[in-house]
Amino acid sequence: MERTSHAFKESAVRALQDATLQMALGNMRVGFVGKRQKARERLPEFERLCDLARDIKDHTLKHLDFYLEAFEARVKAQDGEVHWCRTPAEARQVILEICQRVEARTVTKGKSMIAEEIALNEFLEANGIEPVETDLGEYIIQLAHEPPSHIIAPAIHKTREQVSDLFFEHHRQYGKTRRLDETRALVDEARQVLRPKYVAADVGITGANFLVAETGSVVIVTNEGNSDLTRTLPKVHIVTASIEKLVPNVEDVWTILRLLARSATGQELSTYTTFASGPRQEGELDGPGEFHVVLLDNGRSDVLGTEFQDILRCIRCAACINHCPVYRAVGGHAYGWVYSGPMGAVLTPMLIGIEEAGHLPNASTFCGRCEAVCPMRIPLPRMMRHWREREFEGGHSPPTFRRGIKLWAWLARHPRLYGPVMALAIGLMARLAGRRRRFRVLPLAGGWTGSRDFPAPEGQRFMAMWRARRAARGGP
């Protein structure tokens, strides 16, 4: 997948001017936020469950080697296979080898962010294997040749009109020549078109919401049922998952599952939660003949023990994304890679480098809603600040910005100089601002005044006001 995270600023401007995109993003404002709030209020234990969920993941990450080995041992004992992959290239190769061994021509796919991360579809196509996305949102963007713009609603940037155009164009080959307007009819047509594909596929590839060390199970959550058909009908089931998806036992899974759907869509529980624990056993009437778990690291092991470790608790519910004012203004594509919103702003620099993704942790108002709604209590704003620090230390920020920050830092460490300089500047600005008490243009602040006025200072420094107040109260 092409990376355009470095061009965030330009992409964001384009997104703001895209009337169709803005219309599509408007649908989000009414849905996710209110539904999550209601679901949370209905469960009095919600906040306590968040604490427990955080502790479960912290514990698992602290002993990740132990739980990874335990999980692998269980999967093997249950006739499955675990493939450890350091890089996207290794993961793609493992998957291709399995597909080629069973002479696969088509592969059905359930939604998997790891498959996006390793750019699996393009790779399979290049090797003569047809991947068919089965999640409705993923199917829509596959037809449009676009990446997902939201981790749980990949086609949220598309209007019904656009979906209608796509189906009209691509479904003609199946003899469906009517242009459809109703959402119901569009869903039905996708169902009809995909049904034979499930049955014809040689391999089914799904993601995983959790890997359970106790049982060697892969937990797969969907609302459509597409991942279950993807697992059950083909000869081979391949699961793509990253190493931080581990949890110790089934009870731990349920603690976190009570938070996942509520935080994501406001449902009490998603429609389908499946524990898949190996291939079909003797005597069973259906299910896959082979079961493979492709376990991807891709830099995550380096993050353990650092100030970014907490992001590995993320369960991909998208609550932070749904509540982010920046995401809701520009949508997911502006972020330029697989993950978007606050979790993407923290995760993307980790996976593709701060040089490429430096703009993302800066694309935040630091309003703090992301942290407030995160069911795993991930301190997202703090981690964005850590990235800003690293960006500065690594010399990736623009020279004028760096000089300005350096000058400020020097001044702030010399209070005897800082006080008078600030008093002078504030007094001057207060006088120059005039009656409007605002600046339309300000030297060196074009980035701010380009789109809004700069408020004039009130004429006094905080420290001076503080001293005056204390003196008035008769303090020391």
């Binding site: 602290k62 499930y198 529980l269 069973e284």
Partner: protein
């Protein structure tokens, strides 16, 4: 495992341990880890489902209907064939069903108009008929366990899914139903366990909810047994 794959495995585990600051096999507090790995201790079960059998049944029905499943009660297994026929007639569906072998013991001869085929589902089957391992009152969820007599395809392929659930099989929370599964299947978990909460749905087009995305459009739960199931504790639980 090939040499390359073995190297990848060793490298990832070594990197994890290095980042966590310890050597191989040096896990802190092995007893604690073994206990966690064994499972079986619920963390926190919400108060909502900690109720008596009668209320639990009512909660199950309320929650299932909230997510667009339909439910009906049958006082005894004898009423089940009639209830299945009524569901089909009510939706103008043909009287052909594909049935899980686990429910073949019901008195189907009482409804000669029903055509029942036993086995897994094919893509042309309109209505599937199955049992369920358990119901979970907390969210109106069905727990389906794959086995020689309960193929998974029946839960997903047909447009309509009719489920026969004895009222005595309704648990409060997921953990309680899973504890029962552990007791019945102590060596390993079944290949596939599906927790199903309502019919299939999607909101991928303009955030508008539609039922019947890929799985069943309709989920009909026939509760078999007395209105108030016997005993305060769910089946399999002591006390």
């Amino acid at each position: 495992m090939s040499a390359g794959k073995e190297a990848a495995r060793a490298a990832i585990l070594a990197r994890v341990r290095a980042s966590l600051g310890r050597g191989p096999g040096e896990a802190a507090r092995p007893d604690e880890l073994a206990r966690r790995l064994a499972g079986g201790r619920p963390n926190l079960i919400p108060a909502r489902s900690r109720v008596g059998a009668e209320e639990r049944l009512a909660l199950f029905v309320r929650m299932a209907e909230e997510v667009a499943a339909s439910t009906v009660r049958c006082a005894s297994p004898d009423e089940v064939p009639g209830a299945v026929g009524a569901f089909l007639a009510g939706h103008n569906l043909p009287s052909e069903l594909v049935m899980a072998p686990e429910v073949e013991g019901y008195p189907w001869h009482a409804a000669p108009t029903l055509t029942l085929r036993k086995g897994r589902a094919s893509k042309d089957d309109l209505t599937g008929l199955t049992g369920a391992f358990a119901g979970i009152a907390e969210t109106g969820t069905l727990m389906m366990v794959a086995g020689p007599k309960s193929p998974t395809t029946l839960n997903f392929l047909p447009d309509n899914h009719v489920v026969l659930l004895p009222t005595g099989r309704i648990f409060g929370a997921y953990e309680e139903a899973w504890a029962e599964l552990r007791r019945q299947s102590p060596r390993r978990p079944p290949t596939t366990v599906n927790f199903i909460t309502g019919p299939s749905r999607t909101a991928d087009i303009e955030q508008t909810m539609q039922l019947g995305a890929h799985g069943p459009r309709r989920l009909h739960i026939i509760l078999v047994g007395p209105d108030a199931p016997p005993g305060e504790a769910p089946p399999g639980e002591e006390g």
